[in-house]
């Protein structure tokens, strides 16, 4: 499968230093936001990255684009290692990798017109020379995301959340990227608007052959848009599978708990189902538990879990999980 992978992430780590108070500001510890994440994304597909707040999913997305610097690990984009790129190479590759942000109210400069916001990447990369040509291209991009080209002279405050998110998508598409990191693109939107944006993203994927890394905490939405799904917990990927397998045959106890916690809009099903209610809170990424990260909350914990850290291994066809239940340690 990896011959068609456009993105290969290998043992990616992002640690943020924690410094002591006072003058010396000694480096006393690290927030291990991303702590050994590996996955592939196939060309033209969508990988959903799910997890709860603080699990490191956003930092993973940012580190792939080198918008935060990885501490270690490899990120191969189209066969080349992005982590070794110098500034010039990085700038060139960013034409091909774009990002859609969560909050359409914060991600658009309120003092720039919609037209200038979308034209900015074109100018930076020197893509469409000439004002008139750029103006036309902006018009095309607006139409592509379902907005009127006449909106180019308006300002962000004149638009609703859903329309702003469309502008954010048009900006991401300006440089004709192959790969887009979409970080919670629908979380800030109303229910009826979320469906509009998901449909738009899927239509654009079909039309332009885009590859998405779709980062979200909403498992139902992720399952709708993704081909494969990676589940993160406390800086690690704990399970990867295709969307159907993950739902029908989850292996990792955290995935099971997460799936059972997602409310289903069906009162009959809601009454029937049994919830795995996890106890306690997510541990601090400064001082993660010994052994398996999830061992402090795991309902299936047994002896090796508190001492040996499980690695991601195959538990089925293109289905991987990091759990001692499946690596022969359980007798």
């Amino acid at each position: 499968m990896s011959d068609t992978a456009i993105l290969q992430v290998d043992d990616l780590r992002v640690h943020f230093p924690v410094r002591s108070k006072g003058i010396l500001r000694r480096h006393v510890n690290d927030v291990k936001a991303v702590d050994g994440v590996s996955f592939d994304v196939q060309r033209g597909q969508t990988l959903g990255l799910v997890g709860e707040s603080g699990c490191g999913k956003t930092t993973t997305g940012l580190a792939i684009l080198r918008l935060v610097e990885p501490t270690s690990g490899r990120v191969h984009f189209d066969g080349r290692d992005v982590t070794e790129f110098d500034k010039r190479e990085l700038r060139a590759i960013r034409k091909r990798m774009a990002m859609i942000f969560q909050d359409p109210y914060a991600s658009l400069n309120p003092r720039m017109s919609i037209g200038s916001i979308i034209a900015e990447p074109l100018e930076i990369h020197g893509l469409v020379p000439g004002r008139a040509a750029r103006r036309n291209r902006v018009g095309e991009l607006l139409e592509l995301v379902g907005l009127s080209p006449d909106f180019r002279n308006r300002y962000p405050h004149e638009f609703s959340g859903g329309q702003r998110q469309r502008v954010g998508i048009a900006r991401a598409l300006a440089t004709e990227p192959d790969f887009i990191v979409a970080d919670e693109p629908i979380a800030a939107l109303d229910v009826s608007i979320q469906a509009q944006i998901m449909n738009l993203m899927e239509a654009l994927q079909d039309e332009l052959g885009l590859t998405y890394l779709f980062i979200a905490h909403d498992l139902a939405a992720v399952q709708h848009v993704s081909d494969r799904i990676a589940v993160m917990y406390l800086g690690r990927v704990v399970e990867v599978a295709d969307r159907v397998t993950l739902y029908e045959d989850p292996k990792h106890p955290y995935t099971k708990a997460l799936l059972s916690a997602v409310p289903v809009p069906d009162p009959v099903l809601e009454r029937q189902r049994r919830r795995v209610v996890l106890e306690g809170d997510v541990p601090s990424p400064i001082d993660p538990p010994e052994g398996c990260n999830f061992s402090t909350r795991c309902p299936d914990r047994f002896e090796p879990c508190t001492t040996i850290d499980p690695s991601l291994r195959a538990v089925g066809t293109s289905h991987e999980a990091a759990c001692h239940l499946y690596d022969g340690k359980r007798r």
Binding site: E52, S53, S160, G162, D190, V191, S192, I193, Q194, A195, Q196, M198, N199, E202, A203, H217, L219, A220, A221, Q223, H224, V244, Y247, E248, A257, L258, L259, S260, A261, V262, P263, V264, P265, D266, P267, V268, L269, E270, R271, R275, V277, L278, D281
Partner: protein
């Protein structure tokens, strides 16, 4: 399941509640004449998108919106008295005592410079006339009830020393401090992760069974509603557009808006539609509401000429099931 409220057992009756806000562009008609009853022990969910008026409608039950620019009309009958007409002193006696509220964001609804213990005991000393010692004992009991470990030790901690889920538990404990008959949860789990949300939902349901209070649950999450509600009100542009028992509403939605909302949700599971149904357009501006049905320009049915000119009244289509449309749709409609 407690079933539909009858007026005899209603703990709260809202009649023709209207809330307007004065703005530079003219009055914003945020809540436009809503009426409902809340039965003892019942869980009533009010669903709607941002701007539908659901939060303002419950804030105005206890007159928790500033007047002016707000203006509340109608009746809120609670414990035999109309709260809209009540004096500030009478309202003070109700707020946090007989009717309590859990807000969305536990970081802004707790005072960051007061200990949890202080914030918990304040309403008890005020409403229940408890001594400081008794109030602290009760505070510990409440924190244990909502599942905070080593509660006695944590009483003197400040809000920032708790995680998001734990903070929301503290806010729930505050809501329960005086054994309210009615607890209002305004997007109480929206800011939380799903696993924490599941913990909080289970907690409120268990407490409701133990303490017998009625709960009004405000949310935009139709998944949460399916799991907790006995009855559901769907609000759009400040009006109730559909009302029914939770099973009836999900199995047989009769308003195009409810139908659209339910159809636009991705359902976890193997079979997925190519594209999700999506409601076109945007909700109307409360300052310039259309003369007819507020949903008109987004509606795929609008088959009756009256849709454009007359606001549809809420009418009964099945026992306990009401809908505000001119054109009656069913699940089998085109």
């Amino acid at each position: 399941m407690t079933g539909a409220a009858t007026s005899g057992e209603a703990v709260l009756s809202v009649r023709d509640l209207t809330v307007r806000f004065g703005t530079k562009r003219g009055p914003a008609r945020v809540v436009n004449g809503i009426s409902y009853d809340l039965a003892a022990g019942e869980t009533l969910a009010i669903v709607g998108e941002s701007g539908s008026g659901k939060s303002v409608s419950v804030l105005s039950l206890m007159k928790l919106i500033p007047e002016p620019p707000g203006k509340i009309d109608g009746e809120v009958i609670f414990r035999g008295r109309d709260l809209v007409a009540a004096s500030e002193a009478d309202l003070q006696a109700v707020r946090g005592n007989h009717m309590a509220m859990i807000f969305q964001d536990p970081m802004t609804s707790l005072n960051p410079v007061m200990t949890i213990g202080h914030q918990l005991t304040e309403p008890m000393e005020h409403h229940l006339d408890l001594s400081t010692t008794d109030a602290r004992t009760r505070a510990v009991d409440l924190l244990e009830l909502v599942g905070i470990p080593s509660a006695a030790r944590r009483l003197d901690d400040y809000p920032h020393q708790f995680s998001g889920g734990m903070r929301q538990r503290v806010v729930i404990a505050m809501g329960l401090a005086c054994d309210p008959e009615v607890l209002i949860a305004d997007e109480a789990t929206t800011a939380l992760d799903v696993t924490t949300q599941a913990q909080i939902v289970e907690l409120v349901q268990r407490l409701q069974e133990q303490l017998g209070m009625a709960v009004i649950w405000i949310t935009h999450d139709l998944g949460v509603v399916a799991g907790i509600a006995d009855r559901v009100l769907v609000m759009y542009a400040g009006r109730i557009v559909e009302e029914g028992l939770v099973d009836d509403l999900y199995a047989d939605p009769r308003h195009p808006y409810t139908l659209g909302l339910l159809a636009s949700l991705p359902k976890p599971g193997a079979d997925r539609p190519e594209t999700l149904f999506s409601i076109p357009g945007l909700p109307p501006d409360p300052i310039v509401l259309p003369p007819g049905c507020a949903f008109w320009d987004r509606c795929t049915y609008r088959l009756d000429a009256a849709c454009r000119s007359d606001v549809p009244e809420l009418r009964t289509v099945a026992p306990g099931h009401k809908v505000a449309t001119h054109y009656d749709i069913t699940a089998e409609s085109p």
